[in-house]
Amino acid sequence: MAQKEYDTFILTELSQFPEDQEMEMIVRNLMPADRRYKYRSFYATAMISKSESKYPDRLWVRLGRGQLQEKPWSIKIIKEVNKFG
């Protein structure tokens, strides 16, 4: 399956960001099948790694004012979490 791309905003110190554990976060889909849905956000349970190759999909990281980090991380989305029931 082709690699997908997401991004997320990280407001805490990047070096302390937890890797390889299930956590809930907001991600944006950068490569939806229908381009009209680009940047759709959702809450996901996911695992992430700072290594670009560890998990199946690519995760770009932005800081709190939108600054894009040069190197992507990787992400495995376990499930989408619906907050509105």
Partner: protein, 481 residues
């Protein structure tokens, strides 16, 4: 009596075209940054408004950028001479908005163009609308950048129209900041949230130009009636599909839904009115969508906040300054005028005054900083009637020569503020704490007349007959200007 006005953006677009103030872009433009970049450059160069006829991925939709980012476009929107001066536009605005409010009228749904298409249920999907990615690095696509949100008080009949930005989160969800001191902030956080009640809302995108002016004006008059005063005619409203709110019949797109208590979602960053991305990404107010109605071939409006001048800066400066003029005049202060510089991103207001008594500058600053609007005013510059408040060069000259660097400056601390100030530290932003300052550019009345510095200008230090002679012969001396 109705003034000349445009009942929708389609008529306004035609008027801009007729005044050589519109560029119709027939080639396809990408909603993902390209459209935003064009609008940004238009604001920075003060170019004509772009009218986008083809948007990538969204056939049938059009967009209209920078609808009101110059005084010329404001003059056209008000049906005035496009070359009207700022004082002329200001006086006309004050004249129209100090009379009796004009109540809106209701029209039948069949006569309301905004009902030409109705999406409810699964169809009411925000990604089916061409929300632009305005700036690279924004937290999401901002569908609502030049628009207004309609909401109604829980206990009274009070209806508010206010401009509160909205970012698309998912198909059914938008999110945005609603500052606690805004009318909608007081309604939602003060009344609906304590009772855990969702608040119905309707977002109006692509309203007529004067409704947009009214929605971002800080007037106590209900904004639909205020729009009526600017038009000299009642606004035509129509009922929403899924709630009891009313929206302008000729608007392009209406998004209906509920503002949800008890949950907040991360919003931002976003390019803001100060020309920076300042306020952090943080949990903000959540809007859930129940219906979308729109005209055939709807035209989305796109404003691009950034460095001056965009319509937010221009119109907020304009209306905040003039609301302050009304307040100061109502208090009998002998002011000669009030002008808020759009380039100051409505942080600096210039007040002209006849310095009739000592302490007048402080009195003015106390009123400005003590008013409901105070978080939007960080710097007050008080000049005497020798200075043209509309002339930036003269204001800077007065500021740098008449304001004593210690005695002329008074600081106001612990003021209400916003998280959007670039100069504030993170703690101040977190708690929306502001600071304000007065620059008193009047000479103290206690100085002996003989010690008063004399302004050395053409108008001030030559006898009238010499001035007249020089003016009369200017061209014959060989000058071209």
């Amino acid at each position: 009596m109705a003034y000349k006005f445009y009942k929708d953006n389609r008529e306004f677009i035609e008027a801009l075209k007729a005044n050589n103030d519109l560029v119709t872009i027939e080639q396809e433009v990408d909603w993902d940054l390209e459209m935003g970049a064009i609008v940004r450059r238009v604001c920075e160069k003060k170019s004509a408004s772009p009218y986008f006829k083809r948007i990538k991925d969204y056939p049938g939709f059009e967009a209209f950028g920078a609808p009101l980012s110059t005084y010329k476009r404001l003059a056209i929107a008000m049906g005035m001479n496009p070359d009207a001066s700022v004082p002329e536009i200001s006086n006309e605005y004050v004249k129209r908005t100090t009379g009796d409010p004009i109540k809106s009228i209701l029209v039948d749904k069949k006569k309301a163009p905004c009902k030409e298409n109705i999406w409810t249920g699964k169809d009411a999907d925000l990604f089916k609308l061409p929300g632009p990615m305005v700036h690279d690095g924004d937290g999401g696509r901002y569908l609502a950048t030049w628009h207004f949100v309609v909401s109604k008080d829980l206990d009274t009949e009070f209806v508010n129209w206010g401009m509160y930005r909205q970012m698309v989160f998912d198909e059914k969800t938008m999110v945005g900041p609603v500052l606690p001191f805004s009318d909608m902030g007081k309604m939602f956080y003060g009344k609906y949230v304590p009772k855990n009640k969702p608040m119905p809302f309707a977002t109006v995108i692509g309203c007529d130009p004067l409704s947009g002016v009214a929605a971002c004006a800080p007037s106590p008059i209900p904004e639909d009636e205020f729009t009526g005063m600017l038009m000299g005619a009642p606004v035509e409203l129509v009922k929403c599909e899924t709630n009891d709110l009313y929206v302008p019949a000729y608007a392009e797109i209406i998004i209906e839904g509920e503002v949800i208590p008890g949950i907040q979602i991360d919003e931002a960053p976003f390019g803001e009115y100060t020309g920076y991305r300042t306020s952090p990404r943080e949990p903000r107010t959540v809007y859930r969508v129940t219906a979308i109605t729109f005209r055939n071939n709807p035209i989305v409006t796109v404003s691009n906040m950034g460095v001056p001048t965009d319509e937010g800066q221009l119109l907020r400066s304009f209306s905040l300054g003039l609301e302050m003029r009304k307040l100061l005049e109502s208090q009998g202060i002998p002011i000669t005028g009030v002008y808020m510089l759009p380039e100051s991103t409505h942080h600096l207001v210039v007040v002209g005054v006849r310095p009739a008594y000592s302490g007048i500058a402080s009195q003015i600053a106390n009123l400005v900083f003590g008013s409901k609007l105070s978080p939007w005013f960080t710097m007050v510059v008080v000049v005497d009637n020798e200075t043209d408040i509309y002339n930036k060069d003269e204001v800077i000259h007065a500021l740098c020569t008449k304001c004593h660097p210690i005695r002329g400056i008074r600081k106001y601390e612990q003021a209400p503020g916003t998280p959007l100030y670039p100069f504030a530290d993170p703690e101040e932003r977190k708690w929306s704490r502001g600071s304000q300052v007065l620059f008193d550019c009047t000479f103290p009345l206690s100085w002996p007349k003989s010690d008063l510095p004399i302004k050395v200008s053409f108008n001030n230090v030559y006898p009238k007959e010499v001035q007249e002679k020089v003016l009369k012969n200017w061209k014959s001396y060989g000058f071209k200007d």
